[in-house]
């Protein structure tokens, strides 16, 4: 072995020709707050990795005639005025592959949870979205396990559904529950944290680990203490990791938590690079920042392997104002939104979905038949209940039919309420809604409603497990299944 090695080295040294290595270099003329201005360095590409004297890396994102503006990726390394810089010829990339499953990485693929990532495949973080011909219509549901979402704002695989709401309204919980519900469904889940507190990311990790979700999940994290450049890269890196699986015919769910902080990080970078500020001091390309990311969510054609990448971006609003700049941008990019409302949240309605302002533009096409059959009138019933509830505050003399409608609406609202990590299968959701529509909960007082629903589910699992299994398997609610469910409650 040693002889072979020395022979190999001798052969290599003998055949090695000494050639000068020639490359362009630039000089740092200004540096501060994670941004450097470089003079010289012609012929650079947008997004190219630059190496600074001393080992620090940056990414060229402003190309000018006489130099480039770069964001520094590692704030720890000292970069000073006069430091030399040279281009690496590579754009910023991230390791991808099966070895990332169960791991926590930063936006350039460095492990944050121990051993190095072993992968031979790297994807550039910025990649073009699949073209029109490579796509097909969304046709498969991505069940979240939450009745209010699966029935009223259904999500299809390959869809982009925004989760929007004020702080502390359960946005992350909804996204995490959607991840937890993918257990055993062959969906790779990626949770991308942007500008979150490290303690928040740690809590998310604990939830994923405690529920066995890390077996099919990847966490990409750029916390609040990371540079704006790392926060800027984080969603693109998460998307690139997801695309690897999508291109191999797999289904992927990516949660971007959250794009408001991503926009803020990009604004900080842009202002430091002295780009012209526009509305709310965001740069002119803020829309493109998110549109090019979310366009990468796709439902690929069968010829391209049929993989899907579903995106659940999160946006935090201030004071419930969904018509602010970034929220309206992302609303217009996505295929619908789940609006979580503070008032509902504080009234104990969780997930606090405002059914009036929430919409899914393509999910209905992917909704299972069983759910479609039992949820068609839910939105109207809820809207009527909310309207009536407002008027009922002004007077106590209500006729019997109004009182009945109010009670029914209240019961329905409670039926749509679920605890954290308390997820229902398609069959359970369908059965509960079907029985609700058919008088299974009539006469139950609203206070007893949650208990009654839990008891009903237990009863169904004991008395008609085959019916539940059939609904889950076929995704349909047959007449026979309807009869079995009604028999179960003695109707």
């Amino acid at each position: 072995m040693a002889t072979e090695m020395s022979a190999f080295l001798r052969k290599k040294i003998e055949s090695f020709s000494v050639k000068p290595v020639v490359y362009d270099y630039g000089t740092v003329s200004r540096v501060g707050d994670g941004v450097a201005r470089v003079v010289g360095l012609p012929g650079r590409r947008y997004g190219e990795l630059l190496q600074f004297e001393g080992g620090a890396f940056g990414m060229a994102i402003d190309l000018e005639e006489d130099g480039a503006g770069a964001v520094l990726l590692n704030t720890g390394n000292a970069v000073s005025v006069g430091s030399r810089v040279h281009g690496t010829g590579h754009v910023c990339d991230v390791p991808v592959g099966e070895s990332l499953i169960g791991r926590v990485v930063d936006p350039i693929g460095r492990a944050l949870d121990g051993a190095d990532i072993e992968s031979d495949t790297y994807y550039p973080v910025e990649r073009p979205a699949p073209d029109l011909v490579s796509r097909r219509a969304v046709d498969t549901p991505l069940m979240t396990g939450m009745i209010s979402i699966d029935s009223l704002v259904p999500i299809g695989r390959g869809q982009r559904e925004l989760i929007i709401g004020d702080r502390q309204t359960g946005k992350t919980t909804v996204a995490l529950d959607a991840i937890l519900n993918q257990k055993g469904k062959d969906v790779i889940c990626i949770y991308c944290a942007v500008g979150q507190k490290a303690s928040t990311v740690s809590a998310v990790l604990d939830t994923l680990r405690a529920n066995g979700a890390m077996a099919y999940s990847i966490v990409v994290a750029a916390t609040a203490s990371d540079s704006p450049a790392m926060q800027y890269l984080s969603p693109y890196a998460a998307c690139a990791i997801g695309e690897y699986f999508m291109e191999r015919g797999r289904d992927v769910l990516v949660v971007y938590d959250d794009l408001s902080k991503h926009a803020v990080a990009y604004r900080a970078m842009s202002l430091l690079l002295r780009r012209s500020p526009g509305r709310e001091a965001y740069p002119g390309d803020i829309f493109y920042l998110h549109s090019r990311l979310l366009e990468r969510a796709a439902c690929l054609s069968r010829e391209r392997g049929g993989g899907t990448l579903t995106a659940l971006p999160i946006i935090e609003t201030k004071g419930g104002n969904i018509s602010a700049y970034i929220p309206t941008n992302v609303i217009s990019i996505t295929d619908g939104q789940i609006y979580l409302e503070s008032e509902l949240f504080h009234n104990g309605v969780r997930p606090a979905v405002n059914t009036g302002l929430s919409v899914s533009r393509v999910g209905r096409a992917a909704q299972p038949q069983a759910m479609r059959k039992v949820s068609s009138s839910l939105r109207i019933e809820l809207a009527q209940y909310r309207e009536m509830a407002v008027f009922s505050r002004f007077g106590s003399d209500l006729d019997a039919s109004t009182r009945k409608m109010l009670e029914s609406g209240e019961r329905l609202t409670i039926l749509l309420t679920q605890g954290k990590n308390e997820l229902y299968s398609l069959a359970e959701q369908t059965a509960l809604l079907f029985l609700f529509k058919n008088g299974g909960f009539d006469g139950v007082s609203p206070k007893q409603m949650r208990l009654a629903a839990a008891e009903m589910l237990m009863k169904l699992h004991v008395m008609c497990p085959d019916t539940l299994e059939e609904i889950d398997r076929t995704g349909d609610l047959s007449d026979e299944a309807k009869r079995a469910l009604l028999e179960c409650i003695g109707a």
Partner: protein, 72 residues
């Protein structure tokens, strides 16, 4: 005035330095020279001139050899 910065390893002699300066003046039109010493180069020299780096250091050549060996 076009100045070339020549970073040499400590073992580069004055004669060798003068030869490098002469070659750069003739071939690229360098008019003035600054000399610096960097032990981390291990051997050879690096010239910075007109926005380009001409790297003939032993450190870089060994890195290239290592990369070549790692390919197989």
């Amino acid at each position: 005035m076009k100045t070339a910065k020549i970073v040499c390893a400590p073992n580069v002699s004055d004669d060798a330095y003068a030869y490098i300066c002469a070659r750069f003046a003739r071939r690229f039109g360098a008019e003035a020279f600054e000399r610096e010493t960097d032990a981390q180069l291990l051997g050879g020299f690096v010239v910075l001139f007109d926005g380009k780096v001409y790297d003939m250091s032993l450190r870089t050549q060994l890195s290239a050899l290592r990369a070549d060996c790692e390919k197989e």
